[in-house]
Symmetry: C2
Subunit: 388 residues, 2 copies
């Protein structure tokens, strides 16, 4: 893994590299996506089914677009019962965390008879998009559904692509059912986002669309913003570890790779005050890569978007962390709480070497839908507030 | 003012009429706006100054783009001292209301040693756009600046167009100065939004842009969304009055016109259970129009987007109010609190006949930056939450 000295120039180069991954840079697909959106808006189901045939190779129609009770039951047979247990525990953690975010209506009066207040109520109708494809995460289902549920949204529907046989990933179905959602449509891509935004004969128009997706999904969400509300437009994942000489290099390397393995566009950055740690982490990363199953993806990610930055002191390391505003930030220093106090920009902060990022991503409770690509400077993690 | 029976069909027609006013329907300007945005992004000040010359006829350069201390002092000489007093009282009300919205960081621990929390901090850099043009509202300045200030944003800058002589509206300067902001740039239109989003040699890049504006400003905000955060994209203003036979027709008519006078595209709707009230309000509106100074604007607004809907009963009147999701909703009925409980979609609710909408718009304290054109179904008023 490349090791560079942290300077204003290296930081600038790094930021430029990271921004290349932004959905804003894929405007060559904008026209295609706009056409799909307009077509579904105008022609409803007919367009939706045609695009599903074209892109997902599946024959979907009015009669089979909705996942049946039987399909959900069948999914439980296909998912390992230990995984179902983990999904249930994780669901309890996520629910408990989000309960604490709830805001309530309030009213206040003054002696002159003025009464002012704020009425907080849940949205009426939310659509959750769940991607299919390469890597399917039941956590994505839970992280999007639970805050909407906790906010009190009564009508929540889900769309997710099916394969050519019309089958939806069973863990997605199990996770949704555990979270209490069983209105699930077999629809993916830009066409599914358009269907949720404008409604078709089969899919209801919603007020807000949330959930991750590929570049077509991201651009479609951008195109329908204003007609409906959306969560922020997600870019590829990122992890930054901020560490001093006290950090365990093997732990740091493992956590860096936990994001690199997601996607060739994912980024993994170590900022450290210790050249010794920098070198040992670089070696550990190489060792891990040779052992891991997703070798090719990891290598590309590390090669293009992996950096070890060596800072002169902790102040400049922290300042770099704030400028880069990483989606995930692990603080692995002697005094992690003191460092945390100085962090202004990050999607999620993990404190201390036992707060491994994947733990937060899948299980601990805080939301894993986080601002990427420097947008932690102005966007927040998905929360109950997004559904009121 | 036209009186129609409330049915599913009339509601549908009305919603179609209102949606014609949406910024989403002015895509013929999108390319022009995108060109301006790209040009300012690429060429900075040079492009910004050229567009300012072209659109505002003003010679602005590096040396005179920033409003000076002397200009602010001069503005106080030009603004009626009674207005300054009102601005100060209004500022105190707005500040006091928004203080109650503040969210704080929290942490929680469990017996197994898990510690989870949420860190809430203010954005670093906010840009507030204040329009010039036809009608200038010091309240627009306060409503955008105060929640950012209360949230704790340290760097707040303002941009507003100047006239051909390079002069900015004095009430805008006074309101900004009273709110504690004195970094004010003479820049307006799409070019000002682009300058705030990407930075130029004179104007700093911000994290979030808020504030109202014409269609070019709205489309520019849409174009830079994702590079920075924005508040929601505002459409023309709306008022709805929900009234029964107990309402005073003269009060209702006056309040309907309080929005109609803003803009030819503004909408004013009365939903009532009483045909008698419908007729008296219609007459009162006609009387007012013949007396008022902004006659032409009001007449066009009432003619195109003014409706009196007569509902069979209060349930269907409330249901129409929720479907239309008006920016402002006045409830003028015998039991306004009971009706308020059933309102799900509205930007702001005014309870009882003495809670006149303009009072809330300018003075009472709650924010007047509200979701328009049915977006109250999924967007919220501007609040302190928007700046953390």
């Amino acid at each position: 893994m490349r090791i560079v000295k942290l300077t204003d120039d290296t930081k600038k180069n790094l930021l430029n590299d990271l921004l290349k991954r932004s959905p804003n840079n894929y405007t060559e697909y904008s026209d295609t996506v706009q056409k799909i959106v307009d077509d579904v808006r105008k022609n409803g189901n007919q367009a939706l089914f045609e695009y599903t045939k074209k892109f997902d190779k599946a024959d979907i129609n009015e009669d089979n677009i909705l996942v049946t009770k039987e399909e959900i039951e069948e999914a439980y047979n296909e998912v390992d019962s230990h995984l179902v247990e983990v999904i249930r525990k994780s669901l309890a953690n996520i629910r408990s965390y989000h309960e604490k975010q709830k805001q309530y209506s309030w009213f206040d009066t003054t002696e002159d008879g003025t009464m002012l207040g704020q009425k907080v109520i849940a949205l009426d109708f939310v659509g959750v998009y769940v991607p299919g494809g390469k890597a399917v995460y039941p956590s994505s289902v839970l992280m999007n559904l639970v805050p909407a549920k906790v906010a009190g949204v009564k009508n929540i529907v889900m769309t997710t692509p099916c394969n050519a046989e019309g089958k939806v990933c069973p863990t997605t179905l199990v996770a949704a059912n555990e979270a209490g959602i069983n209105t699930i449509y077999k629809a993916g891509g830009a066409q599914a986002i358009a269907a949720l935004a404008f409604g078709t004969e089969s899919i209801p128009k919603v007020d807000k669309i949330v959930g991750p997706g590929n570049i077509f999904v991201a651009l479609a969400k951008r195109a329908v913003y204003g007609y409906v509300s959306i969560d922020s437009i997600a870019g590829p994942s990122e992890i930054m570890v901020l560490a001093d000489e006290s950090a365990n290099p093997r732990f740091v390397a493992a956590d860096l790779l936990s994001q690199a393995e997601h996607d060739e566009l994912a980024s993994a950055i170590l900022v450290t005050t210790s050249m010794e740690l920098a070198q040992s982490v670089s070696e550990e990363v190489d060792k891990f890569i040779s052992e891991l199953s997703r070798q090719e993806i990891i290598s590309k990610s590390i090669e293009n978007y992996g950096y070890i930055l060596v800072a002169e002191n902790m102040e400049s390391a922290i300042s770099a962390a704030n400028d880069i505003a990483s989606e995930h930030l692990e603080i692995v220093t002697k005094n992690p709480f003191e460092v945390m106090m100085k962090i202004r920009n990050a999607g999620a902060i993990f404190i201390g070497e036992y707060s491994s990022e994947p733990l937060g991503d899948y299980f601990a409770g805080p939301n894993h839908v986080l601002p990427t690509n420097g947008t932690a400077k102005f966007f927040s993690p998905l929360s109950v507030d997004d559904f009121v």
